[in-house]
């Protein structure tokens, strides 16, 4: 059983990571995009970002941090809204599975685009 302090420590660390990688992600859509914001979301430019291993790695890390931070945050909210050992177990398991599912689905998207194109 993981201690609550460990879970919350990771929550704070991932929060800081999201701040940095989130800023980078939004910068990639605006300042760092070739041609600036107007063309940033064009298919070719998006694909270019995904095929670059560094950008893909940054996105993957961003996804990992978000998956943990978001679903642990939901877990905290849900445990505050209702109490009981059954509820606690259900929330813990559901949120862990949801985090893994979101991470795997996001990873699949990043990988597919990294390998060259849309499905």
């Amino acid at each position: 059983m993981v201690r609550e302090s460990t879970l919350m420590w990771i929550q704070y660390i991932t929060g800081l990571g999201i701040l940095v990688l989130g800023a980078l992600h939004f910068a990639s859509l605006t300042l760092l995009a070739p041609g600036g914001y107007p063309g940033a979301l064009e298919y070719k430019i998006v694909i270019f970002r995904y095929t670059d291993p560094l950008w893909a790695a940054a996105l993957e890390a961003f996804l990992a941090l978000l998956s943990y931070h978001v679903f642990n945050g939901f877990r905290v909210l849900l445990l505050e809204l209702n109490q009981g050992s059954g509820w606690t177990k259900a929330v813990n398991v559901t949120m862990a599975l949801a985090a893994i599912a979101a991470f795997l689905y996001g990873t699949r998207t990043i990988l597919v685009f990294h390998l060259g194109g849309a499905i």
């Binding site: 201690r3 609550e4 302090s5 879970l7 919350m8 420590w9 905290v76 445990l79 505050e80 809204l81 109490q83 606690t88």
Partner: protein, 296 residues
């Protein structure tokens, strides 16, 4: 004694004629609830004469003894020490005995019981959940040699005392517990009072119970559920800052967990305490306390 022969309770308002005159009459809007009759609490108005020194508790006792003897209100010391008369006055958590009616600057004084605790009757709540949580954090010095050294003091420097001194002012009135937004939604949350006391005893240099307390507070409904709203500290009538203590407790758990667990508690003084020893007091205590005489 038959019920009809029972002597009526008497409460005499001091005769202040010629000395002091009521400044004004104030409406006390008091929350009433009788579990045998009412489905839910309701408000009832009473007109109370207010003097310069009248506190909210004085007003409630005036109502109880002059207007409506069925009003239930819990109080004891009347001087902000016991914490019994904690209630919500004009929307804010306050001690009724410490709140001067005129200081409220209002002709209507709304009084209702504190939040987050089961209501027993009128202004009286059941404090058991609050005290159970207080008990859970082991609010006492824990160390292996405490029984062996009852005749001496454990040494502590003024700086070490200052670490937790502010938190010793807690009178366990429950106002912080009532103000806490997390306690309002999470019934298992330990609450600001218990968490602040957990920190107070853990940081005490004479204590070696950090590991035990960490197990209690490092829980899904423990210290991490505090959102640092600060309502507890704003509500405290004694100037205790539970919000600060809770953040410090989080810090201990994150950065000093192992150091606190392995910390050696303060040594005992070489000097034996003067006066009667605890053993002697215990020996001289009667095994059974004499009971008061049965009422005639």
């Amino acid at each position: 004694m038959a019920a009809s022969e029972q002597k009526q309770l008497e409460f005499k308002v001091p005769n202040l004629e010629g000395v002091e005159k009521p400044i004004k009459n104030v409406i006390f809007r008091v929350s009433r609830f009788d579990p045998d009759r009412d489905r839910e609490p309701y408000y009832r108005d009473y007109e109370v004469p207010v003097y310069r020194f009248t506190t909210v508790l004085d007003g409630l006792l005036y109502i109880k003894y002059n207007l409506d003897p069925t009003l239930a209100v819990r109080y004891s010391c009347r001087m902000g020490v016991c914490g019994s008369c904690a209630m919500i006055v004009n929307g804010r958590e306050r001690l009724a005995c410490k709140t001067n009616v005129l200081s409220l600057n209002s002709n209507i004084v709304t009084v209702r019981p504190i939040n987050n605790l089961p209501l027993i009757r009128d202004l009286v709540t059941d404090l058991r959940p609050f005290f159970e949580k207080h008990k859970k954090v082991m609010p006492y010095i824990i160390r292996d040699d405490i029984e062996a050294h009852q005749d001496r003091e454990f040494l502590q420097s003024p700086a070490e005392l200052n670490e937790y001194m502010m938190l010793t002012d807690c009178i366990k009135c429950g106002l912080c517990y009532s103000a806490c937004p997390t306690t309002a939604t999470d019934a298992l949350f330990l609450g600001p009072q218990a968490l602040a006391q957990a920190y107070r005893y853990t940081i005490d240099s004479r204590d070696a119970g950090a590991a035990l307390r960490f197990d209690v507070v490092d829980d899904p409904h423990g210290v991490w559920r505090c959102h640092f709203a600060g309502a507890c500290s704003a509500a405290c009538p004694k100037g205790v800052d539970p919000a600060f203590a809770i953040q410090q407790l989080k810090k201990l758990l994150l950065y000093k967990r192992n150091a606190m667990k392995s910390r050696k508690p303060a040594p005992e003084s070489e000097k034996v305490r003067e006066g009667t020893s605890v053993e002697e007091v215990l020996k001289s205590m009667p095994k059974e306390w004499p009971s008061p005489p049965a009422p005639k």
